[in-house]
Symmetry: C2
Subunit: 553 residues, 2 copies
């Protein structure tokens, strides 16, 4: 009981004002980023460890068993390789999936009974502790996904925690919105003395299928939305990017146990790839919620075979930029070049298709042909990557060895405007680091650019007109999905039509922001997945119970 | 423009205070029933036609074409037969399903642009006009479903409108909750001048698969939730119960057209049964939302094959009453007997399984054995049905000719406590009207009582104890679903355990209310389907768009 009073009921009290502040801000359309906003001394005061300490902690994890004290442990499994060449060999518990599901099921009743306030308080407490480990989590993301250190910090640190906090606040607000007590108005011929209760019933065991490129950024919203709405979560990382989620799970289990809850409310599932663990867990009858960000192919598979569960699938697809005209050509080129350099893996947050009229675009520096635009983009990329220190800062290492073949294949479909050259990483000479490939295509090459390509592959597509660009955008993104879209134009009419096309395609849109990608952790916002309130409310149902007042007395 | 100003933008203004009042009440857990509460002169003042006028209007519909002026009309089709023997022969437009989907798709953009306030205002206006036709709608339900007049009025009139109003208010509140404008807090290194918009994007064409027993009561929540969240709706009634929904569609189209909107936002789809219209529409790629109340079998089919759509399926199942003990045995028996008499069709709102310890129950009249309880229930049923006038008021005519065989089959599985006898309806001598069948079974006969039976079939199941009853309840309802459950006990512990079992099974629960069935239109409440907020928020997504403030100027 000592431990219970130390953290448990007080977690909500302790984080209450932060939580309510975020809820209020979200309702008003204001995006709060409290973890991100804490700078320098603030962050140190809040307990964030220095990079030096984090590096030591990270090093201490390598080549060792990673203990979690979970049910049904069968042995140990190591599945990660750093694209920067350091030896990982972290040996995670390999647990029987059925035992993990059983443990989560057993934890369900207690977690449901805790109620939304306590769950939200504990979720914030988990985030607060993760925040103190931001540099350690960033190293884990850096060495598993290949993202450069700065990008990894954004994808794993305060920004990812702010994104999670948004999910916590939304889940808490939606849960609190369910009225606890029901009263009936008098209706002729009916007595008044009826009362009722409304109870939020969590859907059941939740499964997070981790992705290889943004394990925390893409994983946290579903993980925390499920937790706060009362569902235990089995976290099943991508075999190539286990560590960031494993640290997250360990922190969550500690906080839960300290508060007197079953740590099995959050568990980690890792297995050798031949076990097809994700598919086994996804089709377990007790798994009722699944979160996944990635290929339309696996999302389709989940929706087809995991029918006992509600599936929140964020499909990645050809992120598209429609270029019509600009007041600031130089910034446009610099921004796009920098975006092109930022991709490293399979899950693309950077643009793939740049659609512009073949006849060229109007700019503040006069008309620019498609060839000019391509050449300027190529030069801007070379300028950005001209210095090894900038390469190390900007470009990620390619973690997936199938990407190389795809890059070569893409180059054969059109005119190479900028080639994917091997770059030398100043600190990790063996890392596979490449400059982005930019290939010029024609609008009719849709079978090439219409699908999502991995890694540093982008296409500059010449269309008949901006109207044609928008038509292509509407069709390709409408069919395959995309994390976001962007438009550059000085013409309000074009912006309006682009907005309507994005609405039809269901993609987030940015306007005249060259280097701000909504799906990317470096973005100015930290937008939750596009599902809206459904992303939270789909995780529970509401059951009403009714009685006469007299009978209840 | 004349017409537009007459109804259009003012519909919201006109109904604004009602709408906001209902939204406020729901948030506070208060159930308002404004249509139901309007009585006598109030109802007349609100324009509700007299029963005499309604009877004339109803008679004028019989044996004629029912015109709707829809797209793609191929011919006419009549599919209804009154179980009371009057000739219906109402000839509905038989439209090409593809033409209906195309018309709905074309209407989507305009309806989306109307915005939530206008949509909610028009929805209330549709309900207000339906309210004036309550007696006519009740006759339509009476003659298609076989429900007796009073029950038909409850299922088709003010109560159904109040239930729809709850869906309208919830959809309006959830839509309004999406903030229109977004602002970002300043974050170090990032400028402040970013603004954004948040747009609610309706999911797409919505399909209402009507049911044969409660076409309006079960149909309205989905219909109105879809409309207010911006989705056009194709209403596809059960072939045996078209008229109530056809009148509804006609009223909706009139209101929409008067307000300057496309009437194709709401259309009626009817076809000869061999066309398998529901399945064709449900698998049309443009259909993105489906509402259905009925058998788990068709609900499973929808979830398996209509994968392009979000499916809101309310599965009917063995509604269960757990009987442990009572302070008022007489009321308990009378209430249960009256509930048993009230069912007539396939979709069961009345109890099927009465679970009680084989050793008997404790009551204010001393201990009662299971045999006593059965005998008392049988006698109470006979008393209720002792007079032909009460038969006409209480018992519905059986509209489905497969029910008779099922009733006979059920009687062979155990001891018949009360037989299903043919009753004479005073006004309709040829109507198939029967007293309820009550069969005593043992707990181990789960393969019999575990599934849903149609019509007037109920089982009195003897269990080892109340704990055993609750276990059986948890298992059968957890597996097959149910519209609701009830418990009778004087022991707070039993009530608490029953509540927890109902939560696990996801069924609405009533406590010690013998004749108040949450799923039934005669109930004290007008509970929406159990999906909670998800029932509304699953019908749209939220798309965000972002720009620099300078760029937008």
């Amino acid at each position: 009981m000592e431990r219970l009073t130390a953290v448990g009921p007080t977690a909500y009290e302790r984080h209450r004002s932060l939580l309510h502040d975020v809820v209020r801000a979200m309702a008003a359309g204001e995006c709060r980023l409290p973890f991100t906003a804490a700078t320098g001394q603030d962050a140190a005061d809040a307990g964030m460890r220095s990079t030096r300490t984090a590096a030591k902690v990270f090093a201490s994890l390598l080549g060792r068993p990673f203990d979690l004290d979970q049910q049904g442990e069968l042995g140990r499994v190591a599945t990660e390789f750093s694209p920067y060449g350091i030896a990982m060999d972290i040996r995670y518990p390999h647990c029987d999936p059925a035992a993990l599901v059983a443990a989560a099921s057993r934890a369900t009743a207690g977690w449901r009974a805790a109620g939304p306030a306590e769950r939200a308080g504990l979720a914030v407490e988990i985030l607060r502790r993760l925040n103190t480990r931001s540099h350690e989590l960033a190293l884990a993301v850096h060495h598993t996904t290949g993202q450069p250190p700065g990008a990894a910090f954004r994808a794993a640190g305060p920004r990812a925690q702010d994104r999670a906090l948004e999910a916590v606040a939304q889940a808490f607000a939606e849960s609190e919105r369910v009225p606890a007590d029901l009263r009936w108005e008098s209706v002729r011929g009916r007595p008044l003395e009826m009362r009722g209760t409304c109870t939020l019933v969590p859907r059941g065991v939740s499964l997070l299928v981790g992705c290889a490129d943004y394990p925390l950024w893409n994983g946290y919203p579903g993980l925390f939305a499920s937790l706060v709405t009362g569902n235990p979560v089995i976290v099943a990382p991508h075999p190539r990017a286990v560590l960031p989620l494993a640290i997250t799970v360990r922190v969550a289990r500690q906080v839960l146990a300290e508060a007197g809850h079953s740590p099995d409310i959050v568990t980690l599932a890792v297995a050798p790839p031949e076990e097809r663990l994700h598919r086994r867990l996804a089709t377990d009858p007790a798994v009722r919620i699944i979160d996944f960000t990635g290929s339309a192919r696996f999302a389709d598979w989940l929706e087809q075979y995991a029918r006992q569960a509600v599936v929140f699938a964020q499909r990645t697809g050809p992120n598209t930029v429609v270029i019509d005209s600009t007041h600031d050509y130089r910034s446009l080129v610099r921004g796009l070049a920098s975006s092109l350099c930022r991709c490293n893996g399979r899950v693309r947050t950077t643009p793939q298709n740049l659609l512009a009229p073949a006849a060229g675009i109007a700019t503040d520096e006069g008309p620019k042909s498609l060839r000019d635009l391509g050449a300027d983009l190529g030069e801007a990329v070379d300028r950005l990557l001209g210095h090894p220190a900038r390469v190390a800062r900007l470009v990620g290492a390619i973690a997936d060895d199938t990407v190389a073949a795809e890059v070569e294949r893409a180059a054969r479909y059109g005119t190479v405007v900028h080639a994917a050259r091997a770059l030398r990483h100043p600190d990790h000479p063996h890392a596979d680091v490449r400059s982005p490939l930019l290939v010029r295509l024609q609008a009719r090459d849709e079978r090439v650019y219409g699908r999502e390509w991995p890694g540093p592959v982008a296409f500059l597509v010449g269309t008949d007109s901006t109207a044609h660009s928008l038509e292509v955008f509407r069709r390709t993104v409408g069919r395959h999905g995309a994390l976001y879209a962007a438009v550059h134009s000085t013409d309000p009419l074009v912006l309006a039509v682009a907005e309507s096309a994005a609405l039809d395609a269901g993609a987030h849109l940015v306007q005249n922001l060259a280097d701000d990608l909504p799906a990317d952790p470096s973005s100015g916002g930290s937008d939750l997945p596009a599902a809206g309130a459904h992303f939270v409310t789909g995780r529970f149902r509401v059951v009403r119970s009714r009685r006469h007042v007299a009978a209840a007395a």
